[in-house]
Amino acid sequence: MDLSLNAEDRAFREEVRAFFREHLPVDIAEKTRRSFHLHPEDMLRWQRILHEKGWAAPAWPKRYGGPGWTALQRYIFDEELCMADVPLPLLAGQGVNMVGPVIYTFGSEEQKAHYLPRILSGEDYWCQGFSEPGSGSDLASLKTRAVADGDDYIINGQKIWTSLAHNSNMIYCLVRTDPAVKPQRGISMLVFPMDTPGITVRPIISIDRGHSLNETFFENVRVPRSSLIGEEGKGWTYAKFLLGHERFTIAEIARSKRRLQRLHQMARETAVGDATLADDPIFRDKTTAIEIDLLALERMGLRVAWEMDQGIDNMLSASILKLRGSQIIQAVTELSVEAMGYAGLAYESLESGCTHSPSAPDIAQGKMEEFLFLRAATIYGGSTETQQNILAKMIYAGA
């Protein structure tokens, strides 16, 4: 047993760090640091730089254009990215982290050849059509229908919480192709352009006043049979594969570390009479408690990464990562808002779609928005209650 990073991994960390230092455009770094939302063009610009280096899709195998990193290297990459305030190529996320792996694992050769390079280059931005108004945590109950019609499917129905649908040109969608069989078995996965006739996107404004969520309506949307990923009726399997892929990243370990670091900095910059908030023993006690939680999460995360590299699929630990990760995300963002005091209560929407707190220092900008939006961290990707149900099943089964 040796739980420290080896020389190779340490060198990898240095390489990543150096690359970010040299290649992240100054204006993008500054915007990220001040919590401004990036313009889609800025994101694309950064995506191209990563792509040129071969780092646009950290988890992808080399033969599909990925760097072929180990899970541990991906963890290191993610950590350096967060610590350097490098923006996540948010728009590219669904393509790179979600549908990409599904396509190279289950897609046809044509699909791989067509879609994968376009994801890497940033030509295609994807959104996800899974949830429906009636099926949140109970995904298997989805109702959107796709009926075969000659060489096409005709889709009717409605999706909800389609993140960034209004900025995406592609969608991957779970649809019911066979209503007669067991709910999980009648589901298929289709991929198609967002400009296909019959698709309407309606914005959903969230409590942070931002627009990233949408409702997406399908009215007689006709897509070719070649839109089907893998086999008909196997969509449920692909979705579970994909959500499993998500569970690790969704814990946001490195991001929480960065947020906690910024919280410490904010506390040092926040005057409380003659001292600062960082000098307050009660406040320090709270940050310390979170830091220890986070350290435990990180150690679990590293073990899961190592197990992934060993080909061990530890479902229990992955679920615990998601469960604890989301609680810690909320603990840090809650405490950040608490640290802001009165300054957090001022909350303006700017033209750019950002929010801004006029009396707050730079370091605190974006904190209220994060806090509000991340109330959803215990809802999306399987709510905490659903996650506990799943964990109970595993534990009762002997995990």
């Binding site: 949830s131 009636g134 099926s135 949140g136 945590s137 109970d138 109950s141 909800i160 919480w161 959903i204 404004i205 969230s206 409590i207 006043r209 969520l213 926040t270 005057a271 409380v272 009479g273 908030l277 307050d280 009660i282 406040f283 808002v337 608490e338 005091g341 009165y342 300054a343 957090g344 209560l345 001022a346 909350y347 303006e348 929407s349 006029p358 009396s359 209220m368 509000l372 939006f373 109330r375 959803a376 215990t378 809802i379 999306y380 709510s383 905490t384 209650e385 506990q388």
Partner: protein
């Protein structure tokens, strides 16, 4: 000991709930918060007509001479409907301070106008460096021939946009944190040396940061060096009002959440049938009842002896803060994705509770204040 509402209290409750049920649905709230300032002067006139603005004013100024319990009744009703009109800033705080610190002449001059809905005064107390400490005031008021001249910066002056006047807590003497040497000054926001930076608050209302650079006060309330006791008393009253608003908002969230979990289907049954959800609903209610009990207690002693008043107000604020965190978060969580949207009232109650939790001191601040006061148990 008698927990029964007096006839007057029962009538007030009736009139509040009746009027709000008829006039203050969530759609109304949406229309109001789209305005600038984000409230309605017609509503304000109605409040005046029903006497709600002069409940606690002295009878010799046309008030009803009632107290914190009745004010808390208004707070709870307003909280349960997310009422946005500037009751806290203009009535509980500013009118309350005039009644406590103003001369008889000042009271007769201003209170009838405020109670009649014709004068709205915002109260500027907070400063960036003082966090929640009431007496830590750096804004200076210097006596000159022209009157008191004010310089300094104030933050989060609630309802300043749209207010007719601003009441400023400023230092005439003493050390930055001293309780002695504070005075209350009334300014016209349009006068020279006053600049307002208005903004929206997280609950879709408005406030402003205020820069005073040689602004001349129209009025000084009573003794310009001894305003602190009045400010402390009015703040404790305002804490009770805020707590009551929190209780009203939590009560609405408990109701809305219970109604939602009973109809929302997942896994083939209403989610309210799941035991875990049932217990969460119970815990929400328990939190609400704890908050209600301490708020009522704080109201009952808010017009009494300063030590018990302060202890009770701080205890209530801590409890309401904690309860608000639990109830607000649980309400969003149990609503799932839909609770995260701007379309539903839930998120707006959640954000109002965030204001309630923080205004006039957060949980940590009041827990510490409570601990610093003598206790029979310590």
């Amino acid at each position: 000991m008698d927990f029964r509402l007096s006839d007057e209290q029962a009538m007030l409750r009736e009139s509040l709930s009746g009027w709000l049920a008829r006039n203050y649905g969530f759609e109304q709230w949406r229309r109001l918060t789209a305005r600038r300032p984000p409230y309605s002067l017609e509503n304000w006139d109605s409040f005046a007509a029903m006497g709600w603005l002069r409940l606690a004013m002295p009878e010799d100024t046309g008030g009803m001479g009632l107290g914190a319990i009745e004010e808390a009744g208004v707070g709870e009703a307003f909280g349960s409907h997310l009422v946005v009109e500037p009751y806290l800033s203009s009535i509980v705080l500013s009118a309350g301070l005039i009644a406590l610190a103003g001369t008889a002449a000042q009271q007769s001059a201003m209170l009838p106008a405020i109670g009649g809905g014709r004068l709205r005064i915002a109260f500027a107390h907070a400063e960036a460096e003082s966090r929640f400490e009431l007496s830590r005031i750096g804004t200076r008021a210097a006596r000159t021939e022209a009157g008191y001249v004010l310089s300094g910066r104030k933050i989060l002056v609630l309802d300043a946009p749209g207010a007719d006047r601003i009441m400023v807590l400023a230092r005439t003497a003493g050390d930055i944190a001293a309780e002695a040497g504070l005075g209350l000054f009334i300014l016209d926001p349009k006068s020279q040396g006053v600049s307002l930076r208005s903004y929206t608050t997280v609950d879709d209302r408005q406030a402003a940061d205020l820069v005073l650079d040689g602004a001349v006060a129209e009025e000084v309330l009573g003794d310009p060096e001894a305003a602190y006791p009045a400010v402390a008393a009015a703040t404790d009253r305002a804490l009770v009002y805020l707590c009551a608003e929190g209780v009203g908002a939590m009560s609405a969230l408990c109701e809305q959440t219970l109604a939602y979990v009973r109809i929302r289907q997942q896994f083939g049954q209403p989610i309210g049938d799941f035991q875990v959800i049932q217990h969460r609903v119970v815990d929400m209610r328990v939190q609400l009842e704890c908050a209600r009990a301490l708020t009522l207690y704080a109201a009952s002693v808010a017009d009494g002896e300063p030590l018990e008043r302060a202890r009770a107000a701080s205890a209530a604020k801590v409890q309401v803060g904690r309860s608000a965190r639990f109830v607000g978060r649980a309400a969003v969580q149990l609503h799932g994705g839909i609770g995260m949207t701007d379309e539903l009232a839930v998120g707006h109650y959640f954000k109002r509770l965030l204001m309630v939790e923080t205004l006039l001191g957060d949980i940590d601040f009041h827990q510490r204040r409570f601990a610093s006061l003598p206790s029979e148990l310590a």
